[in-house]
Symmetry: C2
Subunit: 338 residues, 2 copies
């Protein structure tokens, strides 16, 4: 019977109306007469009709989905953001496609591909490593930048990374640390730059000096945090406190120093960045800077949907505030406790 899914034609036949009326009943119910509407609706129920979105999209010159372009899909940091996006896209009848930017060679070509493929009505870009101008393509859909970005004045939502880094340093300085180190993200990443410059500014504001041998290169991963810890352990003159540019690195760092017998926070204070869920349950619980990930996803999606609805390539930019979350991984330095 209903082997094949019903089409709008089937519904029209059953309801004894034209396909146009069926279509109208479904999209703008107010313009059809009460009685016909009922007839159509019951025909829909009877046939089990579901609108074919591919056909609808073709006719309406849209795609019905949005792409989230993420530097590394395996990074759990993005899962909550996706959840936030999904919660606004679903009601807006938009599907959420996800893709990796850093897969394969030449991420920028990949980005260009997505932009021109016409697979999506809009795109949210979470990868700040693309060069400005990578978006200068004719006929591209609206794009929302969801990261720091070297490029121009595209619509964006971003977190105040520099300020977050500064808050971390300020807290460490306030409890008495004068020897403060930093574990950075990967080179060339905008987040790396911004958090590093916030770190340096925080130092300066407190009359402290940045020391090159106290800045450890990382890549946001736990393993890179652990590697930085090994370099810290090898130092003769160690900083007494450390600001890590991501919670993951802080976790790796803390685990590695603890395994080496160092006590946190008695021997070393650590501040992370992100406030991923797990850090509240560590021993000691990690002091960090919170990024509101769900909010980021929600607002990114909302701003993008606005642009799509308006058919505009431009739109507002927003900054979402970070928050300092004090926990147990920071204490005054030994000297200060005397």
């Amino acid at each position: 019977m209903d082997r094949k899914t019903a089409t709008i034609q089937d519904v029209a036949r059953v309801a004894g109306v034209s396909t146009a009326t069926v279509s109208r009943t479904l999209s703008k119910p107010s313009v059809v007469a009460e009685s016909t509407r009922e007839a159509v609706l019951s025909a829909v129920a009877e046939t089990g009709y579901r609108i074919n979105s591919t056909a609808s999209n073709l006719r309406r010159q849209r795609t019905g989905s949005v792409i989230a372009l993420i530097p590394n899909l395996a990074n759990p940091f993005f899962s909550q953001i996706l959840a936030g996006m999904s919660s606004v896209l679903a009601p807006a009848q938009l599907g959420l496609l996800v893709a990796d930017t850093q897969t394969g060679t030449d991420p920028e070509a990949r980005l260009a591909d997505f932009l021109q493929s016409g697979q999506a009505d809009g795109l949210v870009l979470f990868d700040g490593t693309m060069s400005p101008g990578a978006l200068d393509l004719p006929g591209r859909p609206p794009v929302l930048m969801a990261c720091e970005w070297m490029g121009g004045d595209l619509p964006s939502i971003r977190v105040d990374n520099a300020r977050g880094a500064e808050m971390a340093v300020a807290h460490l300085a306030d409890v008495g640390h004068r020897a403060i180190g930093h574990v950075t993200g990967p080179p060339g990443n905008v987040l790396t730059e911004t958090r590093l410059s916030g770190f340096q500014r925080g130092l300066t504001r407190h009359g402290l000096q940045a020391r090159a041998d106290w800045v450890f290169g990382g890549d946001f991963s736990m393993d890179s945090g652990a590697a930085a810890a090994r370099r810290w352990l090898a130092l003769d003159d160690r900083p007494t406190a450390l600001f890590c540019a991501s919670d993951e690195m802080a976790i790796g760092f803390m685990g590695a120093v603890q395994h080496a017998g160092i006590r946190v926070p008695e021997d070393l204070s650590i501040v992370g960045f992100d406030n991923i869920d797990v850090v509240a349950h560590l021993t000691p619980a990690l002091t960090t800077i919170r990024q509101p990930r769900t909010v980021i996803g929600v607002r990114a999606a909302e701003l993008l949907v606005d642009m799509i609805d308006a058919g505009s390539l431009t739109g507002p930019s927003e900054v979402v505030e970070v928050e300092f979350i004090p926990r147990k991984s920071v204490a005054p330095p030994r000297a200060a406790r005397g």
Copy 2:
């Protein structure tokens, strides 16, 4: 100039051939003459033509994407799985849509909606809480179950949860524990059931008894692990070892007991399940059961793509093996050490 994106017609005109030839050149290059192929290709380059996938999909009666239905998108557990899926779907020219099942009321209605919406050529279901029969819908696309499932013999990929749980118990028993507790997942979840039954079987095999007051109800989250820990702490007669049905609960449990001054593993041994990245960096590093998440994603996608290509609703099922990962959170019980 290229304000509007070029259509196949434009390419045909520029190349001086028919649209059919353009289409063929792009899909089956081998059937067109060398010279025409070159003409078409250069016309494509000149016009900047990109195939319109919506139109193509409509014509070919497919959608070009696959949906991953995830119980909770915010759960980082799935990010690596998505990455694995993406790595096989992208080369197969399939987009990856993601959606939550547990959003809103009535997840089964939501599932039915996705199945009948015709939005995807196939679907991977990661949610084992649906009732069997929820998939008995006419005209649905191929579905791959990627979880334990009460229902029938649908194609699936799953992890040997019961065996994993048994391995955990076996290890604890082997080092001398006789008082072994368990923190379960949420009621009604298949994973909960399977891991619980594996736990019980492990106990039995080692001549031990399950004690109702040593089984703590959780919901896989860190907070529920911490809550279970508080109940454990309140016990007069505590188990000396604990198998948690998820790493997250193990983390919550361990953090809470550590904050209460209990030492792991000296006072309490803990085994988790999943091997999420962070547990290797905890202090102590968590002994756990590894689920190969990338492999799960990859195989799930591969099996689904096979079904899609074959146009079949049926296909093989696979079990992927779990692995015991010994680390530092297990030690012999005090009594056994004398």
